[in-house]
């Protein structure tokens, strides 16, 4: 793909059409992969010799934790592109990632707590991963609330993008400091936390789930970003024509 093509798909009408076309190419594989992963993880994979069937929660926990972290990175990437090229498309993508990213973080937290309850006997443990997820949730919420509280769209886009970039610079530092802190406090629980020695027939459903989550995520983002773009471009010619053709 050369630069000209990238520029072409970066223009709002092209991106709009492309994302609506691409939506199902993400959603359907995502859906299928998640079903396969669920079947594999919940029924086919053998129970862990130490933790029994409870470990199956990782098939929901790990993909959402992975994806929530990378969602923040994608959001910051889109924000950077938006700031540099003042691209409405990039801003729309960044804005659409935030709610899904926040809900993935929420999922990672809740499934983490559901895993903690039988394993550690308590729903919340001050361990590095859960705490990092909590901080990530706050970063997402800050982004979303800042976007909501600035009335003018263009201003809100730029301001939240600055926040996303600062957040992504800080994220490794936060993660590092939380890990450092928890190794000081929770030396005893760390060993319990270490992931079970995963065997091949446990691993493949996990990978399938991670990919399924990713595909489904982008499918939803395609649709949300398309509606964001349409909203921003409603006084443009292509948007009017698109609406007219729908009738």
């Amino acid at each position: 793909m050369n630069l000209k093509q990238i520029y072409k798909y970066g223009s709002p009408p092209n991106y709009f059409k492309l994302s609506l076309k691409a939506e199902n190419w993400f959603l359907i594989p995502g859906f299928v992969l998640i079903i396969i992963g669920c079947l594999g993880g919940l029924f086919i994979a053998p129970p862990d010799y130490q933790m029994g069937d409870a470990y199956r929660i990782i098939y929901f926990h790990v993909p959402s934790a992975y994806l929530s972290m990378s969602a923040y990175a994608y959001m910051a990437g889109a924000a950077l592109v938006g700031i540099v090229w003042r691209s409405n498309v990039a801003f729309s993508v960044a804005k659409s990632i935030a709610p899904f990213g926040a809900s993935l973080t929420f999922l990672a937290l809740v499934t983490g707590m559901l895993w903690g309850k039988p394993m550690w006997g308590t729903a919340w443990v001050w361990d590095a991963r859960l705490t990092s997820q909590f901080v990530l949730l706050l970063l997402f919420l800050g982004y979303i609330l800042l976007h909501l509280s600035i009335r003018e769209q263009r201003k809100a886009d730029l301001a939240t993008s600055v926040l996303a970039l600062v957040g992504v610079i800080n994220l490794p530092i936060i993660h590092y400091s939380v890990v450092w802190w928890s190794t000081l406090h929770q030396a005893s629980t760390i060993s319990k936390l270490s992931s079970p020695s995963i065997t091949g027939d446990m691993l493949w459903p996990l990978l399938v789930m991670i990919f399924g989550y990713g595909f489904f995520f982008w499918g939803v983002i395609c649709r949300v970003a398309a509606s964001e773009i349409l909203k921003r471009e409603k006084r443009s010619k292509w948007a009017k024509e698109y609406i007219k053709r729908l009738k």
């Binding site: 003018e152 263009r154 006084r235």
Partner: protein, 203 residues
């Protein structure tokens, strides 16, 4: 001497979906006075802010000596003095302190004849907060006049002024224009404006 020129080329501004103004163009050369007329809420302030580079145009461009001002802002700001609705004065500090710490005008005229002309000489040591609205407006105006910058941009300079000060301001503007300076003024009080060669009416 090469004469400076400020150009606005087919400028439009939207705030989200709302059209503020569209397709305005002009050329402003040394000795020209541009008046922007219009009622409240007609986009005068937005237009003036785009001319100062504080607000980005949706379409079109602002050029200083044929260069877009975003690229040469520090060069452009050497020549620009801007008076906003707010006076840009710090109310806790006295007039004199505001003058000393005035950041934009690094080479402020040190003789205070303009302050005298606006009858501000006796208020030099009172905090801006204790001055009346008209007096603080006059203070801000005299800072612009004393700044020795080429381009003066006034947003509603006549607000709160008594007739004597209006005359004095018009005198100063005339002197600046004859000195090959440029002035941009927005107002909705048409009766007090001196005659000019450039006019934009916003609706």
């Amino acid at each position: 001497m090469q004469s400076d020129v400020l150009q606005l080329q087919s400028a439009s501004l939207y705030r989200d979906d709302q059209l503020i103004f569209s397709d305005i163009s002009f050329d402003l050369k040394g000795g020209n006075h541009l008046i922007i007329k219009g009622n409240n809420g007609s986009g005068k302030t937005s237009l003036i802010r785009t001319l100062c580079g504080l607000t980005q145009l949706t379409e079109g461009s602002v050029l200083w000596n044929h260069n877009p001002i975003d690229g040469i802002s520090s060069d452009y700001y050497k020549h620009l003095a801007y008076l906003a609705h707010t006076n840009g004065l710090i109310p806790e500090l006295t007039l004199l302190e505001n003058l000393t710490y005035s950041l934009q005008m690094t080479d402020l005229d040190k003789d205070h004849s303009v302050l005298e002309g606006f009858q501000l000489k006796q208020s030099l040591n009172s905090p801006i907060a204790t001055l009346s609205n008209g007096q603080s407006r006059k203070t801000a105006l005299s800072f612009i006049i004393m700044s020795r910058k080429k381009l003066w941009v006034f947003d509603e300079p006549y607000a709160n002024l008594d007739s004597q000060s209006i005359d004095y301001l018009n005198q100063q503007i005339a002197a600046h224009l004859s000195d090959n300076g440029m002035v941009i003024t927005s107002t909705n009080r048409e009766e007090v404006i001196p005659t000019t060669n450039l006019e934009i009416t916003m609706s």
